[in-house]
Amino acid sequence: MPRPDSPTADSPNAPRTIDRREALRRAALMLGGVISAPVIAGVLAGCQGRRHSGALSSEQLELVATIADHILPETDTPGARAVGVHQFVDAMLAEGYAGPDRARFIAGLADVDARARAACGRPFLECAREQQRTVLDHLDRETFARPARSAPPFFRTFKELTLVGYYTSEVGATRELRHAPVPGRYDGCVPLAQIGRTWAV
């Protein structure tokens, strides 16, 4: 569970509602524990976005987009697919993680397909939406029913990457949640109703 002590804030004891760096540190562990192989040349310091070749095939990308959209679907705001969560997941797999961790994630995707075949006799993407949801509900319950293991389960990783990808997107931060890039002041005790939603940052 993210904790206010986790080392992301700019001050060692500054409370933070969320904790994305710690989240990804744990995601790294989930993706296979020790990260060993050098993956990429560093991105330029700063803000230069970069095209990447990606780690996933177009079918795998579609699978990720579909699962992510089950986790965070469209409501009165767009869902995970619409904000491109699958592209974020693809980029993180390609640029952030070593080969074995990537392979573990892709094996997890294959397992989703295997579960779909067992449940509805077809690959996940060809199952009906309700059947897909049933497969994922099972996987979700299994994942969180088990005590923590040394390597966190695939679906937990998946969920975490989906949440990060969604809530750090512009839509996620500014429409689904509340975002104030330059608050200008600090009020330590205001009615929740006045803010309305979870702070994005």
Binding site: R3, S11, P15, G46, R50
Partner: protein, 566 residues
């Protein structure tokens, strides 16, 4: 090729929090001053390249690249302020190696750029008291400080007036009040815990951290915009750094020269004159060597780097390093213990939230070994303070719980419960056996011998750590928190980025390196005012004390120069 520059009145090595202050004070007192910085130039404002980027504008949404960090930033990336948005203000560990024994890790956090670590510091600003300055004398560890609080109090005030420290006056003798801007506000959960702790434990307090973030405009700077992303740099000058405050003041005098990408290899000592006369510098980019000459020299390169420079400045008179007739240069390395405490849930207050991102937390001042009648006997020397902060859980909690779909999305729209975490910062005893020295064979890419760090926690630090956890948990329980648990991340030395002690002050030239004015016993025109000078650590964050010692040392140096004593 050796290029000789004209002599300066003063040379300052390093542009971090003490180098910036030395430059300001020296130039304002009329000295033509050269600041030598080993890192690159950073322009205040324009150099803060990630400052205005929102999460979706960062290459990996701020998540960074774990594999890259493992390869190039295995030490720096452990620091709380390191992120995708701040990586350019931390060194690449692979390019800047140092040596530690396998069993004694040391995390040396560094920022090689103009402004140094003043760009990425935690900004907590506390005065020391005589409980701290008398600690070595009282229990016999280390050497007695050659100064007391009264010697430093006016200089603390001098520094606070310029920095702009926000805080609350408490009237505690062991945590003296300063000259404060209005404090930041505690949030509802912190106030509830504060009431609980102060009701249950007589003599314990919780206050807002005294911090160098401007709660109102101050000398043309600020105010702080409550973004809590200081380590990216702040073009509002909302927090104090060399770039926002001291170097601009020095530049205004017209007497400041700054060179960047200039690595000080050693201090040049002239045996005939028995004085330090300049510095030998290696260009970080071309690796060419050059020299700069000056009448007085201030080493403000940071605790370990200053020791490295002194140890590498060898001569017939000082074969084991400049100003090292005591043999204490490099010894008595200290850091604060941290990364241990307790956390819990603050019940209720579900209808309350915060606006803005306060750039600091709260603080429980030291309550152990204050010398008060009837206080609890504990199995360790000295004490600790506790940094704390409460916040409501955000969307990230969703990855730790079952559930998906519309229900999950709706749930995460609302913040989760209030969580509070307490983290102790404890005093470390000065011990000769914790030391740095130079590797006899290996050098960095500029030919400078690698620093070897040999430093480990001792019994007292371990005992402090245990008490931190127990007391933190007891206080949270007494304050009505639920799900209280202790935590301990077992941080090795260096983790607190409060390393100190490698050229300690003292009364006796046989057992210390610097006198009461931060002047080398052996070399009167050589001053060390960074953390190297510290004879003990107190338990409070040290930067404000480094700053006060620096301005006091400059005052002394300039008056000695005028009296022709240097």
């Amino acid at each position: 090729m050796i290029v000789k520059d004209e002599p300066y009145d003063a040379i300052v090595v390093g542009s971090g929090i003490t180098g910036g202050w030395a430059a300001k004070e020296l130039t304002e007192k009329g000295l033509r001053t050269l600041v030598v910085e080993r890192g690159r130039h950073v322009e205040h404002g324009a150099g803060y390249v990630t400052e205005s980027l929102q999460p979706w504008q960062l290459p990996h949404r701020g998540q960074g690249e774990p594999a890259l960090y493992e390869r190039d930033y295995p030490i720096q990336s452990k620091n709380y302020a390191f992120s995708e948005a701040t990586r350019h203000f931390f060194v690449n560990d692979r390019e800047h190696p140092y040596v530690t024994p396998d069993a004694k890790p040391f995390r040396w956090i560094r920022g090689y750029q103009l402004g140094g670590r003043s760009l990425i510091w935690g900004r907590a600003s506390w005065r020391w008291s005589d409980l701290d300055f008398e600690a070595n004398l009282r229990d016999g560890y280390g050497v007695d400080w050659p100064i007391r609080y009264a010697d430093l109090a006016p200089w603390y005030a001098h520094v606070e007036r310029f920095v702009g420290v926000s805080g609350e006056r408490l009237g505690l003798p062991h945590l003296p009040d300063g000259e404060f801007l209005p404090p930041w506000e505690m949030n509802c959960a912190e106030r509830a815990v504060q009431r609980g702790i102060e009701r249950a434990f007589r003599g314990r307090h919780m206050t807002i951290t005294r911090v160098a973030n401007l709660t109102r405009p101050h000398l043309g700077r600020g105010p702080c915009q409550a973004r809590n992303q200081c380590a990216r740099g702040c073009s509002f000058s909302g927090y104090f750094s060399s770039l926002s405050a001291t170097l601009p003041a020095a530049r205004l005098t017209g007497r400041l020269t700054v060179v960047t990408d200039a690595i000080v290899h050693s201090v040049i000592y002239d045996e005939q004159r028995d004085r330090a006369v300049g510095v030998c510098v290696i260009d970080a980019k071309t690796k060419a060597t050059r020299e700069y000459f000056g009448r007085i020299i201030f080493l403000c390169a940071s605790t370990l780097a200053t020791a490295q420079i002194l140890l590498n400045s060898q001569s017939a008179r000082f074969p084991t390093g400049l100003a090292n007739s005591s043999g204490e240069v490099g010894h008595n390395v200290m850091d604060h213990i941290s990364k241990a405490g307790a956390r819990g849930t603050v019940p209720g207050l579900e209808d309350k939230y915060v606006y803005g991102r306060r750039p600091t937390g709260t603080y429980i001042p030291r309550f152990r070994n204050l010398g008060r009648p009837g206080e609890a006997k504990v199995g360790f020397l000295r004490g600790y303070g506790i940094q704390a902060g409460a916040s409501r859980e955000g969307w990230a909690r969703g990855a730790d719980e079952p559930g998906l779909g519309v229900a999950l999305k709706e749930r995460l729209r609302e913040p989760g419960p209030w969580q509070i975490s307490l983290q102790g910062y404890g005093e470390c005893l000065p011990r000769h056996e914790n030391y740095v020295d130079l590797d006899p064979t290996r050098t960095d890419q500029w030919g400078i011998p690698l620093l070897r760090v040999n430093c480990a926690w001792g019994e007292n630090e371990r005992a402090v750590r245990e008490d931190v956890k127990t007391q933190a948990a007891e206080m949270l329980e007494a304050a009505g928190c639920t799900s209280v648990e202790t935590w301990d991340d077992d941080g090795p030395p260096g983790f607190s980025v409060h390393e100190m002690g490698t050229a300690r002050m003292g009364k006796d030239p046989k057992t210390s390196v610097l006198n009461s004015h931060n002047q080398a016993h052996d070399v009167p025109n050589l001053f060390v005012t960074d953390g190297a000078c510290m004879a003990s650590t107190s338990c409070v964050n040290p930067s404000l004390t480094y700053m006060a010692l620096t301005v006091r040392a400059v005052d002394h140096a300039v008056s000695e120069l005028q009296r022709r004593n240097l």
